[in-house]
Symmetry: D2
Subunit: 350 residues, 4 copies
Amino acid sequence: MAPLMAGGSSRKMRIGLIGAGRIGQVHCKAVAATPVAEVVVVADFFVKAAQACAEKFGIAKYCQDWNEVVQDALVDAVFICSPSDTHCDIIIAAARNGKHIFVEKPIDYELSRIDLALQEVAKANVKLQVGFQRRFDPNFMRVKKAMVDGEVGEPYMLSIISRDPAPPPIDYVKKSGGLLYDMAIHDMDMARHIMGCEAIEFSAMASSFSPEISAVGDVTTAVVTMRFENGAIGTIQCCRKAVYGYDQRIEVLGSNGGVEIGNNYPNTAVVSTAANISRDLPLNFFMERYAAAYANEIFAFVEAVVEDKPTLVTGKDGRIPVIMAMAAKKALDERRCVSIREVLYGNSKL
Amino acid sequence: MAPLMAGGSSRKMRIGLIGAGRIGQVHCKAVAATPVAEVVVVADFFVKAAQACAEKFGIAKYCQDWNEVVQDALVDAVFICSPSDTHCDIIIAAARNGKHIFVEKPIDYELSRIDLALQEVAKANVKLQVGFQRRFDPNFMRVKKAMVDGEVGEPYMLSIISRDPAPPPIDYVKKSGGLLYDMAIHDMDMARHIMGCEAIEFSAMASSFSPEISAVGDVTTAVVTMRFENGAIGTIQCCRKAVYGYDQRIEVLGSNGGVEIGNNYPNTAVVSTAANISRDLPLNFFMERYAAAYANEIFAFVEAVVEDKPTLVTGKDGRIPVIMAMAAKKALDERRCVSIREVLYGNSKL
Amino acid sequence: MAPLMAGGSSRKMRIGLIGAGRIGQVHCKAVAATPVAEVVVVADFFVKAAQACAEKFGIAKYCQDWNEVVQDALVDAVFICSPSDTHCDIIIAAARNGKHIFVEKPIDYELSRIDLALQEVAKANVKLQVGFQRRFDPNFMRVKKAMVDGEVGEPYMLSIISRDPAPPPIDYVKKSGGLLYDMAIHDMDMARHIMGCEAIEFSAMASSFSPEISAVGDVTTAVVTMRFENGAIGTIQCCRKAVYGYDQRIEVLGSNGGVEIGNNYPNTAVVSTAANISRDLPLNFFMERYAAAYANEIFAFVEAVVEDKPTLVTGKDGRIPVIMAMAAKKALDERRCVSIREVLYGNSKL
Amino acid sequence: MAPLMAGGSSRKMRIGLIGAGRIGQVHCKAVAATPVAEVVVVADFFVKAAQACAEKFGIAKYCQDWNEVVQDALVDAVFICSPSDTHCDIIIAAARNGKHIFVEKPIDYELSRIDLALQEVAKANVKLQVGFQRRFDPNFMRVKKAMVDGEVGEPYMLSIISRDPAPPPIDYVKKSGGLLYDMAIHDMDMARHIMGCEAIEFSAMASSFSPEISAVGDVTTAVVTMRFENGAIGTIQCCRKAVYGYDQRIEVLGSNGGVEIGNNYPNTAVVSTAANISRDLPLNFFMERYAAAYANEIFAFVEAVVEDKPTLVTGKDGRIPVIMAMAAKKALDERRCVSIREVLYGNSKL
């Protein structure tokens, strides 16, 4: 392949999209908004979805089999937006074909499979970015900046509130891996990203307020407490249901002060009546709340590839939250504090 | 021309852009984001600007002379983003060529020229939309909704705060028509839009806090007070300089309550230190603050053309704020209340 | 009389209260909270009210005739909380008897009577403080501090919102002197207090949204615009009715930035439901909103007397807002800008 | 003794104050503000403090020995504001003398001593109220109301943030019983008060960010997680140091929505400069933040005695937080979840 645009070349970076569902289309839009990349092929097991996506975004080619994409000589990078259980296989195949990789979270829930996939990525020396889009949200970025710039100082406490507007369908819950793997894992990524070091000890408590969810052995509500290497204590408060909408907040307290972020709203209007002073509900769910974040993460990945820089969310970043979820689950099940070392027995490094 | 996409056709609406400057490019981006329209030609007196714009947005054709655009048989609609003093000539030519028209504000500052242009538009029965983008801003839209839905009730008072981060270059000020024509006019549009009726009496007071701006006979700071047909009293508080950034707020009080909107911020982070509790400055200027509004107004115009519906900001909407600015200026100069009828003497209708 | 407590004496400052109504009782409470003053006599035309007040606050003596109070040798200072039309007579009598004076606003609505009273005060060299309690409100004090400390810089604009929860009874309105004298006058005091200089030009526009109030020749809604000596432009937006409660806000914009204050609330709770995000209504009216301010102004007066310092709200401060209301009323009636000099023709000084 | 004021009697309730320190004086002020009670005697081991307090608040009698107070035939009720380790002895003596009791928190840290004292109170059938003043704070009261009124619905999660502006002197820390007993205990009271049921399982994690505090075996930072009888999960996040001031917030999420409260501020002013948008720091510490709450709790106790109603914070309410702190401490030390039953082994009831 000819070199990419950087360094004077004017060739666009060529992307093969695997998975033409909602999130795949979100990424197509982001690619359309950057002049240095283009989607050249889209694959989906439901080939009609691939076709519709190709038409909507003016993509030249579509197919059913993702193997065609990873083997396509034209393709510089693949976006893996297919079901989670296909991620590792596609990563391995893409790496072996020398393609750069953007993969939706989670890489997988099996640590051994993740390790295998990341070894192939390392061997092939291709770039890989995991889709933890919240890291690219302007609010969370501002918290990170407050940490990096010293506004917070030495961190003491971290508190994450993470609530969905409503539980997913019960069929989804069944296959989700449970609240800690499905929901808290994203907050775990955020926790270690903000803290800038690893969590080494976990405790957890949980309840279910849905008989339907209890029936499939899961919980609706959980608190995870973590001790970090720097001594800071962090909490994640997860809930499947907040009737007022998607609730994603974080705050950090440190020696120099604190920083906290709130939710995003559709407008700033405040209405005052004889009853109360009110504003509209926050943006309802992740597609609205993280619209800018989704675009930003794609711009960052494209930039990393085009300018040959490291990606901002690495394979390690995809791997560690799985270990954290394992530790939190063990702590929950055994009603005790669990150290990360216990979980990693046999795994030599974090 | 073949019919547009609506009604089963799959042809995109074809736009000719006149003026390849900043706002022209903003509109190109909005067009790129809708699947039902495309820019097919771009003209700019500085032909290199036209060329650069064509390359950046993949526009097939560019030229220097706007006459080529209005006469281009392919073109369904023109976007007039050239200097204000060219607007009326282009409107007239476009109308005579049967093109729909999106024209940046102001149509013109001369009422007689505006009337001439709008007569041609009426004669040609083409659609025209004026670029009062604030009407499409989610905050102002929520205020309008509070009025329409009865949350406010019978309106008593309207208060508009309108402040720029810094005065424009003095050369711009010289040709701007003065603070009332250049700046307050947009707030006048918002005032009558929100109020849903016309202002009939004006009073104004102004000061200059810039020797440079005083020297060219203009002011930096003005308050305009208006009585509306429904008896409500409105104020517009304009200032060329607010060091903390672009400040655009509005509130309405009525029999059922009040509604007010604030500024938009880059993030929701609140930082607490030993000094104070703070947040970052609001979005600095109109391009950031009204990013969504600019896109929304273009989507609305495209929809009006494609679906053959009335535009949401008509020629009349572009004409009346000019009359309001005339009345306010007269009130300011003569230090007295001035009725709109006085200004319109010889003009039969509002 | 023996000297007061300051300077080592332990005698309390002795106050005679004239008017045992609501505001008189509020002041009794404030006096009770300071160890350096006490109310020793209370007079009220309705002698039962005087008696009840005396019992409630443990005041040794009560009477019907205010002359007894101003002539009482024990009394150091009088609090004039009787109807407005008695203020000047009492001031004059108190001054002639060498009593210090705390007088509720307004001193009077007749400039000539005010001047006569203030001349007697000057002649007697007693202290006088006018009850503009808002100057002692923590919010307004913070705005003043922002002006004094340079946070605002050179002031450009001042905006005051002043709204009552509901119109007073129509009998009160009839005798009130009209919206500008009755309501806006307090905002005029605040305007010149915050601005630190005088308003020199006035404009006004008003409407009535109450047939009952229209019928007695008054308005419910008014905007007053003022130019100050320093060039700043100020607005006062008054309304008799805001269904959500007492609404008293102010903001200043200047060369270094802006400062604004909001209302006070009974609590900080924010309730999020499936309908909206809401908080309780603001404190409903002046007794709640200005509870701290009423106490603070009394502490300040007592301190001024005990420590022989100038009062913080002088006779001049009580006189000028009357002139401002006269100018605003003239501007409203004559639909033109009115300079303060016009109003003061024959009055040599502000 | 003659009956109290209720029922037509005009006798004031007579209070004997034990402990003339800061909090004792705060309560004197509250008593002064109610017409139905008076402090008639004050005792303090430092008799000069008792004397000074008596002079300041016009209390007729003072002494060194608290026994004189509890045996004083004039006294209806005692306020126990002496050091914690004297509380139980005084409670027992007061109860045996038939005095009603207001006792500062904690009753004691030894469960056996508390039980003994409360048995005497029950035997004597006197009223006892524990000084958990936060229950009388308007913000926390609004949260409780949201729970009681059904705004929250079935509770899912409770989150308490509790941070002091700075650690106390190390000598205080040494004797404090540790962060959980000294600081978290008040949040534990709030947790069960808001939740309306008991916490039955505890987990805790803690760190120290002060070498000095580590050296005396204590921590600066702790998170306690609790499961309540209703299934809700609660967290308390405590820290000895928040440089921006006293930080006391709470939020509850439930099936119908959420409610959260913020801090209280000295004013509502928002200052906008070229640097940021800021407000002043929150009220710095408990004396300022809970000024109204301290008065309210005394009014409530006086009312309970005068009107012969149950107190709003009972002996049981003082006892249970001690058990909660015991459980949390055990959970922290043993790095595991601890049930309240474990701690209560041998104690038959909560």
